[in-house]
């Protein structure tokens, strides 16, 4: 990618005694789309707000286009933010909401009206320019919030869970629209979400946060294929990865787990305790006596139509996913085929990944 648009080095944020961000390092390239994901309270919004300048960083450095911005007020940063609440100005109609920033800059009224018209056409609001926010649906408000951001051509867009108040279908559509818009106007975007699917589908760089710490960052598929630790492995992917305790067998390459021997493609210390991670979509159901298969029994089947979730009678219980409707019934004896190169292994103490892949 090209030169960094936003650079964050060793940034800490304290709220009194509470340590909300811990030595965060992050580089956002010009034109990049970076997603910040993590469970509730992990510090996603805090990180975004420090970039915006709405929160002051306690330590570390932050640059926007080579300018050190540690103490720069939000209004001088030239960033646009789309809030989860949209934060539309209730006393202004859509046109005035869109052009508020231009008005502050002293752009003439005629020019503002022209720009509002252009932006409204880009995002499909042309018929709503005279409406007040209270007379808009959630989806329309969301669009106004987007329009208010893009009208300024800022150095970067900051999104804080902008889609979380929309229904599922609209969310999927807006996901694509936002990404398309990002590409079309060549924007730089930082996107906060707690929905890993949103992060994986929209971003080219995903940052996984937990308790103020960046657990891992990288391309979406890199996080999926090579999670750095058990937390990332469990957080990325849906349904979540299965975990089971195991011990490395005499041959150093297979693991005794789930009451069977599971082959892997790595070599480890025999007798070492490990945590085995299996993605639901990587385990397939075969005949109980198939060679190398882990014998088990189906405990329950849940069909969604497009796919089926199978729950097995292992300890701990495993979740598997198959396409379409499964013919399997609860109580049936089956075997589980586990490809050796799809077995994830973690250190049970440090939770770090043991597989040295990639």
């Amino acid at each position: 990618m090209s030169q960094p648009q936003i650079r964050i080095e060793n940034v800490d944020k304290h709220y009194g005694a509470f340590h909300a961000l811990k030595s965060v390092d992050l580089t956002i390239p010009k034109g990049g789309f970076v997603a910040l994901v993590g469970p509730s309270g992990c510090g996603k919004s805090t990180l975004l707000r420090t970039i915006a300048g709405l929160e002051k960083i306690s330590a570390g450095n932050m640059w926007i286009e080579d300018r050190l911005v540690n103490d720069l007020a939000p209004r001088h940063r030239d960033l646009a933010m789309v809030f989860q609440s949209y934060a539309l100005y209730p006393h202004m109609n859509v046109r005035d909401n869109l052009t508020y920033a231009l008005r502050l800059k002293g752009v003439s009224k005629a020019e503002r009206a022209k720009r509002a018209q252009e932006v409204a056409e880009t995002i499909g609001l042309e018929n709503l320019l005279d409406r007040f926010p209270r007379a808009l649906s959630g989806g329309q408000r969301q669009r106004v919030a987007m329009g208010r951001a893009i009208i300024r051509s800022p150095k970067a867009f900051l999104f804080d869970e902008p889609l979380s108040n929309l229904d599922a279908a609209l969310r999927v559509r807006m996901r694509k629209e936002i990404r398309a818009l990002h590409d079309r106007i060549g924007a730089t975007s930082v996107y906060v979400t707690h929905d890993q699917i949103e992060a994986m589908t929209m971003a080219d760089h995903v940052v996984v946060l937990r308790a103020g710490v960046i657990e891992q960052q990288g391309a979406p598929l890199e996080l999926y294929e090579r999670p750095a630790n058990r937390f990332v492995a469990g957080f990325i992917g849906s349904p979540a990865m299965n975990f089971a305790p195991g011990v490395v067998a005499e041959d150093g390459s297979s693991v005794a787990a789930l009451g069977a021997t599971i082959a892997t493609d790595v070599t480890m210390q025999p007798g070492q305790a490990v945590t085995v991670g299996l993605r639901p979509e990587h385990v397939s159901v075969v005949a109980p006596d198939a060679p190398g298969a882990v014998p088990t029994r189906i405990a329950a089947v849940e069909a969604t139509g497009s796919s089926s979730y199978l729950f097995t009678e292992n300890d701990p219980e495993l979740v598997l996913v198959t396409n379409g409707t499964s013919a399997l019934k609860a109580g049936e004896n089956v075997g589980l085929a586990i490809p050796p190169d799809q077995v994830h292994l973690f250190d049970p103490d440090t939770q770090a990944a043991l597989r040295q892949t990639g």
Binding site: A52, G53, L54, A73, P74, R75, R77, L79, A80, M81, F83, S85, A87, Y89, P90, H91, Y100, A101, R103, L104, K105, R134, R148, R152
Partner: protein, 299 residues
């Protein structure tokens, strides 16, 4: 069937509650008001006071009030007192509301302390200001003198040029906390994220105030100003305690004059004329208040 059913589905009960409230208003506000209007067209003196009906006077009472040499001064005094009190109560109250809206330790606590002034009875406040304003040993004169702003003490309460202003001063102090509290509530109702959005849009603190705070506060401001005018027109205790309307009527305002005419000179007809005219003013201001609060619920 009928009443019982409507009682059960709640409509009857609602009507009953509203009925009580209306009845109360009619009996204790409506009738006195009406009687006041009637009296203003009658000849009432201390001897005929006890009877319900008095000889009619037509517009005589009104004409005599308009022709009274005091009338013009009282009108001016009332305007100066009302505008001066409300303007300063409001601006100082707004400034304090904005100040306490900044989040600093103890902000809500200090703001609460200000209410102490507001819960004091008017007569107590009046006595307090009598001491502060006293010509010989008052604190205010002492401060002004020692700062070199004046060379000899001002006799606040007995100087015809300043007596009205001494009451205005006390009234500003008395009414400011009420303005501050109502405006604080209005400020607190503006979501923080609007200010954050404005900050990112490039607004300075000053621009945020003019483009977000003020327009968002419009209905609150309307209500506060309207209530301020109404309360100021009701202010009586401070006059009674500080200047008694004097010297030579220099601090007499309409409500005080009305009281003087009725209860000092027992000229109830003319006293009623003044209160009828004040009712009209208050009615107009109340319309502003009702419209402001209605806009509030629509937001």
């Amino acid at each position: 069937m009928g009443p019982l059913r409507s009682m059960r589905d709640g409509i009857g009960f609602d009507t009953l509650l509203i009925g009580f409230a209306l009845l109360y208003l009619l009996a204790f506000a409506g009738l006195p008001l009406l009687y006041n209007v009637i009296i203003s067209f009658q000849q009432v003196d201390v001897f005929s006071l006890g009877t319900l009906l008095h000889p009619g006077a037509g517009w005589d009472n009104y004409l005599s009030i308009f022709r009274d040499p005091l009338a013009q001064m009282v009108l001016w005094n009332t305007i100066i007192f009302t505008v001066g009190s409300v303007a300063f109560q409001f601006t100082i109250g707004f400034a304090f509301a904005l100040f306490f809206h900044q989040k600093f330790p103890g902000a809500t606590w200090f703001r609460g302390l200000f209410l102490a002034a507001w819960v004091m009875p008017g007569l107590v406040v009046g006595v307090l200001w009598n001491w502060l304003l006293s010509g010989d040993f008052g604190v205010i004169n002492h401060v002004l003198l020692s700062m070199g702003l004046i060379s000899e003490p001002i006799f606040w309460r007995s100087d015809i040029d300043v007596s009205l202003y001494s009451v205005i001063l006390a009234n500003i102090w008395y009414g400011m906390p009420f303005n501050m509290i109502l405006l604080s509530v209005g400020l607190a109702a503006i979501p923080d994220d609007l200010y954050e959005a404005a900050a990112l849009d490039g607004a300075t603190a000053w621009q945020k105030f003019w483009t977000i705070t003020l327009p968002m506060m419009r209905s609150t401001i309307g209500a506060v100003l309207a209530l301020g005018v109404i309360f100021t027109l009701q202010q009586f205790d401070l006059f009674a305690a500080i200047t008694s309307g004097g010297p030579a009527g220099s601090s007499t305002v309409a409500q005080y004059w009305s009281w003087q005419l009725s209860f000092r000179e027992f000229d109830f007809g003319r006293g009623a004329v003044i209160s009828v005219m004040m009712i009209l003013v208050v009615l107009a201001v109340s319309l502003v208040y009702v419209r402001s609060t209605r806009a509030e619920t629509r937001m």
